[in-house]
């Protein structure tokens, strides 16, 4: 046990001290922070400076265009030619020309710009003008905006799960996201660090140190030490990513005064809502209310997710899947002389992983309780990924227990196979290995 600990230490320390590890660990959270902050930052920056000059010959909009949310209106007088000249001399974003129109036929409004005006600006202006003309038409037809607001209905569906455990709020998007994120992490972790195990074994084989080592320790200890050591490297990187991402995102958003993680879409919607509102405070309040409701919904969905269960399952399938595949990767490394020979043996390992990944998206998400989802979450080779997608939707306890039990058995089984291939393979040089040869190794007496 003391020796396996030494091996774990070596495997861990040599990897953690590598430049590539340090760079990857530091760079990823920064990129993530940049990815989350930049879109919001860009929108705010460009949104700050919009000034639109208005030449209103119809007089319909006089005093109706209010400055708001990064859009400023400057009224002009005179002819269109004069206005154009004035506009050319300024840095303003655009010139809005409203010819003599009536509210019944509001055609011919033109937006002049020095560059291509952004679609966003165009849509916002259209919305503002539409709203104003609608308002005037209501007044003309004897309705006012307040009456209309009373008529307008706003429906938002709440979805609730009726299960044996009682009623539960359920937001399908949040639920699937939690599972998919966990599954994706497990998938990449198995691949990234499984290949590292394989490379490590090949390195020991090609540098011929393996015979020295196994005259001190058992091959099984060497293999397990490597697998556990690399798992620790992965977990370290993972934890650092979480901590550093949090720090980076907080720091960057504090520095730039931007809300962390506003999606561009949300921002656009917010702008639109703000642009649409305006005529009455009541409407704005209603819109705000609705937004708050949505946020509340999302929050509630998170709170209703069995977070502890998901976290527990994640850790279990994360380690179980890694150990199951990791020992197989180790066995491949032992069977070959160099990395180019690994192809033929990699196939059978990658296929179940890739299939479970694809199926998670295409089938399991749509029907988390179907037959495909059931079987794939029970079979150990696919369960680490597929079960993670299912767990947030709620899985019967017996299925979870069966899947976990089988994963443990599967892990013991692959480790047994891997250990047998490993102890023969690490001392075998210059021999082309095929599956028949490998199967013979399983029953060698060493």
């Amino acid at each position: 046990m003391h020796k396996i600990w030494l091996i774990i230490q070596r495997e861990y320390l040599t990897r953690v001290r590598k430049k590539s590890f340090i760079i990857m660990t530091l760079l990823t959270p920064l990129l993530l922070a940049a990815f989350m902050i930049l879109p919001g930052l860009l929108i705010t920056m460009s949104g700050d400076e919009e000034t639109v000059m208005v030449l209103d010959e119809s007089g319909l909009f006089t005093g109706k265009l209010e400055n708001k949310e990064g859009m400023k209106f400057v009224p002009l007088a005179g002819s269109l030619e004069q206005a154009k000249e004035v506009y050319q001399e300024t840095d303003n974003t655009a010139l809005l020309y409203i010819p003599k129109i009536s509210i019944d036929d509001p055609q011919g409004i033109t937006l002049y710009g020095k560059k291509n005006t952004s679609l966003q600006t165009q849509v916002r202006l259209e919305n503002i003008l539409e709203k104003e003309i609608e308002n005037q038409r209501f007044i003309a037809s004897g309705l006012d905006r307040e009456t209309l607001d009373k008529i307008e209905a706003n429906i938002k569906l709440s979805t609730i799960n009726l299960s044996d455990e009682g009623e539960k709020d359920n937001n399908a998007i949040i639920t699937s996201a939690a599972g998919v994120v966990a599954a994706v992490i497990i998938y990449f972790f198995i691949f990234l660090y499984g290949v590292q195990i394989m490379r490590g074994v090949i390195e020991e084989k090609t540098s011929r140190i393996v015979e020295v080592i196994i005259s001190s320790v058992k091959p099984f200890q060497l293999m397990m030490g490597k697998i556990i050591g690399i798992a620790a490297v992965g977990l370290t990187q993972f934890l650092l990513w979480i901590v550093l991402s949090f720090v980076a995102v907080t720091a960057v958003s504090a520095a730039f005064g931007v809300d962390a993680a506003p999606s561009p879409m949300e921002h656009y919607e917010a702008g639109k809502i703000a642009a649409e509102g305006g005529s009455t405070d009541a409407e704005a309040a209603a819109e705000k209310n609705e937004l708050a409701n949505t946020i509340q919904d999302v929050k509630q969905s998170f709170e209703n997710l069995p977070l502890l269960l998901i976290l527990g399952c994640f850790l279990f399938y994360f380690l179980g899947g890694y150990l199951l595949y990791g020992s197989l990767f180790g066995a491949i490394g032992a069977a070959v002389d160099n990395e180019t020979d690994t192809q033929q043996f990699m196939m059978p390992i990658t296929i179940p992983l890739v299939i479970s990944f694809i199926m998670s998206y295409s089938v399991v998400l749509k029907n988390p309780d179907g037959a495909v989802a059931f079987w794939m979450s029970i079979i150990p080779f696919t369960s680490p990924i597929v079960m993670m997608v299912r767990v947030p939707f709620g899985v019967p306890a017996w299925e979870l227990a069966l899947s976990m039990g089988l994963l443990v058995l599967g892990f013991i089984f692959t480790t047994w196979i891997a250990a047998r291939i490993y102890r023969v393979g690490i001392l075998m040089y210059g021999k082309k290995i095929n599956y028949k040869e490998l199967s013979k190794w399983l029953f060698y007496r060493v």
Partner: protein, 302 residues
Amino acid sequence: MSILTINGVSKRYSSHLALDNVSFSIPQGCIFGLLGPNGAGKTSLIRIITQITGADEGEIYFRGERLRPDHIKDMGYLPEERGLYKKMKVGEQLLYLAQLKGLSKTEATERIKGWVDRLEIREWLGKQIEDLSKGMQQKIQFIATVLHEPSLIILDEPFSGFDPINANLIKDEILRLRDNGATIIFSTHRMESVEELCDNIALINRSQKVLDGPVREIKDAYKTDTFQVIGNGQLLITSPDYKVLEQHENHGVFRANIKLENNSTPNDLLRYLIERVEVHSFIELVPSINDIFIRKVTETHA
């Protein structure tokens, strides 16, 4: 007393028999030559002794006890295929390998210090293995093999890859270790390279032991009572007690290989020669281990 006793060991791989009922023992404190051509089964036997693999049949006793896993901390093994972690620093690597053999960190550090001071390679400790020359790497590997002061040191083809200077340095170190009480096994197919160093040998050919014992005794057993004489004068031997195997003459100097027969002694031959010619040199022709091996192998296959 023998440190290692090998008793009827056989090892079979799927297609061939690597060791066939091999038995011999290795006395404590000697330098033992495990000799034989490539593919004879030397490495298979060493891997059984170092417990990398197990024997199919037979037993091995280490200091009188049946071989146990914890015995490996008393053995040091330098495999024929040398290798170290390329990306690891010399000091860390030595420490790691010594700790794997069961040394405590402080003890290992102290011993590493002793070795690098004696070999004057202190400045190597911080270097990565891949930055060292091949000869330097071999030295490091030798240190790693003996750092835990094993009582049995097994060296597979120890001098391959060493330049003559380093080979001599390693030879001296080996003799020093022997004088400190360690037993050393040399495994090699180049028999002449270890002949002068070995006290005892075992010859292995085609999975079988063909010969073992102290080098002196083996040579005595295989000596042919032949003497090489160099001198001046006309050599003409008429006695039936001496048989001339070979004779050359050049400018009045002769050289002859003479075999003693009918229980005559070297002194008889010398007396006989002195009466007839002027003797410059008189040496016994002792067979080399290589000669003995070839004779033994051709005998067994004849």
